[in-house]
Symmetry: none
Subunit: 203 residues, 4 copies
């Protein structure tokens, strides 16, 4: 049989990854059997095992590929030299997340939940996850710095806690979208706008 080109290999790998995501979305990481993924991919066991060393390898790839893709998607928004105000930034990140995670037959937000759970017991995954979120926090902190420079926040505003709060909103958005449903970037934005609208004692 003809040798596969590098390109074909990558496509095949993605095909398996997609099958994995679909299965994981449906049944979780552990309850999904290799046979499920094999059947969903429409390949043979041997074929799948020639692309991934074992189940753990495939799980890692499914999770990290997802994270890397999201990081790449969010980069232009987060690295924006003059980021829009928090509320708008949050909404556009949420919309980017939504666009990136909504796939045919699965939703990467749901996969993210699986990844968080799995990271509790898998140190390698935990490290990857921390690196991803540390970078995310760093980018958010950068936005805060630029907001301060632009006069949107006072000089005493600390980057780290605010970045944490912003990340919390996005993470909490993801949990609600996956577990409860009924949430959209617009609603999140509205909620945060209402929160900020809290009456303050005049100076």
């Amino acid at each position: 049989m003809a040798k596969l080109s590098e390109e074909q290999k990558l496509a095949r790998r993605l095909q398996i990854l997609n099958a994995g995501w679909r299965c994981f979305d449906r049944n979780g990481l552990h309850a999904t059997r290799m046979d499920d993924i094999i059947a969903e991919a429409g390949l043979s066991a041997g074929a799948v095992y020639s692309y991934f060393k074992n189940k753990d390898d495939l799980v890692q790839a499914a999770l990290t590929t997802s994270m890397q893709g999201l990081a790449q998607t969010l980069r232009p928004i987060l690295d924006n030299e003059s980021p829009p105000p928090p509320v708008e930034l949050l909404e556009s990140i949420a919309e980017a997340i939504e666009a990136f995670t909504k796939r045919d037959g699965f939703d990467l937000k749901r996969i993210a939940l699986l990844g968080w759970a799995e990271s509790q017991r898998d140190p390698k995954l935990k490290a990857a996850m921390q690196a991803f979120y540390d970078a995310f926090l760093g980018q958010l902190a950068g936005c805060v710095t630029r907001w301060k420079a632009a006069g949107l926040f006072g000089a005493s505003t600390e980057e780290a806690p605010l970045a944490r709060a912003l990340l919390a909103l996005l993470l909490g958005y993801t949990v609600q979208a996956a577990v409860i449903g009924g949430l959209s970037p617009g609603i999140l934005r509205a909620g945060v706008e209402f929160l900020i609208s809290q009456h303050r004692a005049s100076p």
Copy 2:
């Protein structure tokens, strides 16, 4: 072995639940073997199985008991007739969560992550989870109503989106605490305070 009193049975059940929580915290829901829990509980297989029909039953109980306990813990805070302003409310809820979830040998926040993941594939659990969070959202919306009555928010403030945002902050707090670490109720509070401090165009 005399007939066990209802009280003794409950204590034994809790003993098994604690063993389960410890094991789940350590190794996740699926990778934890019944034997792990049995050994951790210091009982025999038969004894454990006389309190829980099967592994799934124990998992359900571990997850729902945890949710119910938290709901009960938060009730006085959330049903407060004159709730403190958002920032303080968030901090005190986060502190209550912290106090409730930090256990000997495990952390129920980590268990919550496992529950979210599991709820993706278990409809019964998903329903329980939705009921829990719907109630939570309802209580938060109640706080918003009372804040509006107290003049803290304008009349046009909508309860639902704001409740969603507040829940997102708490959920995101939980994820960060479990997955990244380095977060405390105080830091969350500070972050939200900074967020609210955003300069606004004067009216």
Copy 3:
């Protein structure tokens, strides 16, 4: 607690045996759990085990007691000095079997089937069964001898094969009654009468 009289003990034993028969009838020998019998008898585990050494002992007792009871029931019919002709004898034996085996909540004919199956793997039971059927065959052979003496059969008639055929009819009656249903002593009698009515070449 007061000491039980011999009589009470026997009654209690029979109570357990009845529970056993009911359970065995419902679910077979092996699929019936001791707990089933214990619950059906309305006793405690300890109580049952004070009457029967273990499950095998109870099974043996259930099976042999049933056989002994039937042997005793059939004795007057089989030891009759001037037995009625074969067809009538068969019908009255079948009727006696019917009367003996039809119980409240179970049917000892069905238990007999379980016993035959079990005797394939339990040498002790097999021996008991062979003794029972050997005695049965002996009694039937005795009837044949008396029929010959009474001129009902020719002198060349052999006892053993005829006894075997008669026993086969009764055993086959039992199987059909238990497995297919729709059989009664009267139908069996009619069938054998028709069989005997076969036209013979005149001498």
Copy 4:
């Protein structure tokens, strides 16, 4: 391991069935462990489970395959347009049963007893068994009809009861062969011949 042909699969299935029959013959349906069958078949657990869903499935197959095979074996004898007289028919059926059931390392007559017992608690098996015996009875009744047409029996002879009696003889033959031993088709034939030889009042 290339793809197995349908033929190879059937052979493999039969190999497992044979192992099952041997084990069941030796130790009964319930006391036989899957590991016994697996070892007897010389396969791995997984291999056996790829041919039979579970133990119950294998038991069903062992029992029904046996019945189907017997039905097929007896068909030419039972559907014979001019059946030999009852005594000869019985003998030839018994001989066919003997030839069909006597296998290498087991005896399907003994398995039949296990099947009757099991059918008491398994509705699916009970239905299969009833269908099998109903067909058998129908074929025997057909023989009676043909005997009547041939003048061997009077016009008033009823098919059903006679068929029942004939079936009883064959079933009783099976029980005796399996439980007591010492019976052969020839002895059964002799017994029935003696039974029919009963002196009758001349017309």
